[in-house]
Symmetry: C2
Subunit: 235 residues, 2 copies
């Protein structure tokens, strides 16, 4: 590449990096608004969280296309290519976090709109806090090009999963004791599930960052692919 | 590229294409086994569907890495690059279909293991059939490099979604009428949700194929990005 193209390339990469962090901020804000609306029943927050999903979707397409364009234009290799492919995957996970936040907002709208028997009290705040921390840690790792948090994020994912199981058991008890709570209990179950999935996507992003930093693919590591190299496999 | 490299490149691309279709076949078989186990309670089918997820996960990593390797090695542009990026996205959706099939199998195992009060009868077969057809049509479109089925697949996705809503209403009725069915009804709800998500992933794959064929990004088209070009956007 000529010096000028190289400069342009660095500028493009830097824009992409910042774009991902901005999109991460958008999604985090959308998630927070949805939870705020769930807690308070404030319809403005709920509608804002639902509306925000459109911009998140557009942002994914914008960044995805930008990466494709840069790969085609500059034909990067090694770590630059890994960065761009990581971004394509990470923004897909961020977009799905946005989908889950939208689901939470819609369930919150139904819960507060129906206004029927007050929904059963279940503790979602612990799982919510963990999912938010996972998302922030994953994005922070992307920003710093540092995958050091992966084990902590995995640990939190396990916590969120067991929280979800506990919440499900709790809601079943409510439903059995008072069938009038069944509809609202199911809404809360869907909300808990969405929070759990947001944790999953945060973990996915953190695993993409490991690949970006080390070239090592650690997805499903616990399952069966420990130490599989990022370029060993062939079709 | 030299003629030899070109030949190697074509061989690699062809392997990738066949790899995706093989992975699609694996996932379809896993999904079918899970449903078979749900219907019959045959533990061998259920365990096979759960076990199959590991190979599906490895297959995604293998194809994903192979695409990255080819992009780095041959630095393809235009339609070849679009094919490889489409594969990276499509195998991620296929892997998630595998996850959902595994969830169905695990819920089926719990349902039949508990063996308590016979689970409520809900019609899952229509949604299941549609989801399978969507998956086949999406993979077929990939194989033929033809995105003509996208509208039909979208239509089926809407049908699956409304099926899911209907099933949810039906299960709520069961639960209200007989709280003893709550636990098994929830398992069926999770299963119906998994089927609905498999439809979503099939639609994603079909949309990736549109991009592969036309270079046009049609994700969220119905929402707000109609006709957005595959390379217009910039960060």
């Amino acid at each position: 590449m000529t010096e000028h193209t190289l400069k342009q390339f660095d500028i493009d990469l830097d824009r992409i990096r910042r774009g991902v962090l901005q999109m991460g901020g958008m999604v985090e804000a959308q998630f927070t608004k949805a939870l705020e609306g769930l807690r308070s029943g404030d319809m403005a927050s709920i509608e804002a969280a639902i509306e925000a999903d459109k911009s998140v979707n557009l942002e994914q397409i914008r960044l995805d296309n930008a990466c494709t364009h840069i790969i085609a234009k500059h034909q990067p290799t090694a770590s630059d290519l890994r960065l761009l492919l990581t971004v394509i995957k990470a923004v897909s996970d961020l977009e799905r976090v946005g989908d889950e936040a939208k689901k939470i907002a819609k369930a919150a709208r139904r819960l507060h709109a129906n206004g029927t028997s007050s929904p059963p009290k279940v503790g979602l705040s612990h799982a919510t806090q963990l999912a938010l921390e996972m998302l922030r840690a994953a994005l922070d790792g992307f920003a710093r090009g540092d995958a050091g948090e992966i084990d902590a994020i995995r640990l939190k994912d396990t916590e969120v999963d067991s929280d979800f199981k506990g919440i499900t058991r709790q809601l079943i008890t409510y439903m059995v004791e008072d069938p009038r709570t069944i509809t609202s209990s199911l809404e809360l179950l869907f909300i808990a599930k969405a929070i759990e999935r947001i944790g999953d996507h945060a973990l996915n992003i953190a695993e993409h960052v490991v690949y970006m930093v080390s070239g090592e693919d650690v997805r499903f590591t616990k399952a069966q692919t420990s130490g599989m190299s990022g370029t060993e496999a062939r079709p």
